[in-house]
Symmetry: C2
Subunit: 341 residues, 2 copies
DNA sequence: CATGTGATCGTTACCGGTTACGTTTATATG
DNA sequence: CATATAAACGTAACCGGTAACGATCACATG
């Protein structure tokens, strides 16, 4: 039967140790001005009572809390990867992480939740916040770092080099001999989606291929939204020989649609994604994609936020993570070219 | 140029609206006793200033915070699944979730951190806590629910029916004709590991097969720890025709070891895991396993914790989630039996 | 007209710590 | 011995809200 009584407060420790509240606080925080014998008494009382300071009371009074906040709206695998990166950056620093998730908007993709959570946390509970994939802009008095922000965002951010990555993806397809390359876009308000589409357009233009609006379908990064555009692209009389999807989730849906239509990947259709989520490597066929290290995004975001909190961050506050082409089994030369050889 | 000034407090709203702090509080919390015109003024001031109440100050004063805490030590895929279940249970209830992760022990598997975090959160910031895979026992004045607790735990818990699941796994192998079945155990201090081993022993005994200690290797649920025992089992002169690993992570390592030794799965060796992590379905060969719905564990844990907080939970406070055999490609009749037919 | 009643709103103590400041005591200095 | 100095520790204000309590006022009632 353990104690189900009230939690142990600092005043309890003070009473047992026969000192004042202030002295206990000094001991807990290792401040100067307490005799060795008093420190000993207080330590003993703390151990005896099993005292732990209240995070809430401490952060209300203190300006610095040594806790960083992270706000997210879902826990997909990419979020987990980001979190691992953040934890790695924080490991051994003595800085803890609080993740705030609100149930009301779960799965609802509603907007404005980041703002609410950030203002509720920043300035009191946390020294700063990381926002994972924000769907709207935020303002805050405490430092904020966004991962994959919206297009017009002015807050410090960490993103993959989406433009270069998209160019690399299209160049890969061009290099294989593809001429008609379809694109399934992401949510246009997000900077990442915009940059990937720009990369697609740029790479084609550079290669002297005119942009055909009929080859551009619009998704919003959620896998299901790729199904319609994919069917449309693949059912068209002059269907593309390759499709570049702005995310792996959507690319995997393209694979499904291709299978459903009896198209062989990569012989009839090449598919390339973006993100390199764990599922991509395990798909059938394994998905060629552009790797953006979520782990790295989280890691760098935590680093940047720490620097911002310490005031030691150098401008500009936008870090770009390089991307990498991962060639797997979903891309190959188009059938005509393959026959030529 | 947005405001980089101090955060807006309730007193700022009060000043702008020309009322007292208490009235603003009443409006924010929708309490009775404020005239319609005053409510309007306060609402306007709140909108104008963009006020959001401080989570910290509120929870310091209030006994009830409508925030649940979750303490975890890592963000593997099972944690993400659990989180999704928790969020689903909380969706629409107006109850938010705070996840606390401490960096010091990240990956270090040290002990006692759960206790620190729970006491720092419970009673002030949160109304109660869910602890994911605790490695030690905890006490708390606020309700606590453990997912996969330690063996001697007395706290309310949610676990899969590990015993029955393990029996099912072994029965599946026995049904295929296997007689020599190896086992790779999990961390013995965890209730789940213990129940799975008990299930293994029980199923064999029930089938009249004596327990051979040489067939039991010890891991601790971390995948790498399965490699040694797997090599030992598979290199032995009288090697088992099937191995039951106490977790999918470890089972996947067994597959790797088998490949390394030139053994074909499932022809030379059947492998069955436990958990049904996403990777299991995508492994080569696809892993036969016992499904324990992490999502469900999280969901039920959140439900139980809510009931505990509301005081509406009925005894006993231990909920058992049924498990399910998922037959895939890593199990088959042993070679001898296969030849018999 | 005196008093009762209820709605509205301000005053103030408090949640559990932190810290500026003041007080006491011991020791050093003139 | 009087005074300066510093170490050790307590007192009390404060962080940003909440809620018990009291005060004020309009209106109804005897």
């Amino acid at each position: 039967m353990t104690d189900v009584s009230a939690p142990v407060r600092m005043s309890d420790v003070a009473r047992v140790a026969g000192v004042s509240n202030a002295t206990v606080s000094r001991v807990v925080n290792g401040h100067y001005g307490v005799s060795a014998s008093t420190v000993e008494k207080v330590r003993a009382a703390i151990d005896e009572l099993g005292y732990e300071s209240s995070l809430v009371a401490t952060s209300l009074r203190r300006s610095r809390t040594n806790v960083l906040g992270l706000v997210t709206h879902s826990f997909e695998s990419y979020t987990a990867e980001v979190l691992k990166g953040v934890m790695e950056a924080l490991s051994g620093t003595g800085i803890d992480l609080i993740i705030y998730a609100n149930s009301d908007t779960y799965g609802a993709r509603s907007t404005g939740w980041e703002q609410r959570h950030v203002t509720r946390l920043a300035g009191t509970l946390t020294d700063g916040c990381i926002i994972v994939t924000p769907w709207s802009n935020v303002r805050s008095t405490a430092p904020v770092v966004a991962i994959d922000p919206v297009r017009d965002s002015t807050v410090p951010s960490v993103t993959a080099d989406n433009f270069t990555g998209a160019v690399t993806a299209v160049d890969h397809l061009l290099g294989l001999g593809h001429k008609r390359i379809g694109f399934i876009a992401g949510r246009s308000t997000l900077a990442a989606a915009w940059a990937r589409e720009e990369g697609y357009r740029d790479a084609l233009t550079k290669a002297g291929i005119p942009i055909d609006p009929a080859l551009i379908g619009s998704g919003d990064f959620h896998p299901e939204t790729a199904i319609g555009p994919a069917r449309e692209l693949l059912n068209s009389p002059n269907r593309p020989s390759a499709i570049f999807a702005a995310s792996d989730g959507m690319a995997l849906k393209v694979l499904e649609v291709a299978q459903e239509l009896g198209l062989d990947v990569p012989d009839d259709l090449s598919v390339i994604g973006f993100d390199n989520v764990p599922e991509a490597a395990l798909a059938n066929p394994a998905l060629t994609t552009i790797d953006q290290s979520m782990h790295r995004l989280g890691f760098e975001a935590a680093r940047l936020l720490q620097a911002l909190v310490n005031g030691s961050a150098q401008e500009p506050h936008h870090v770009l993570i390089p991307t990498r082409l991962i060639v797997r089994d979903s891309t190959a030369p188009p059938r005509e070219q393959a026959a030529d050889r």
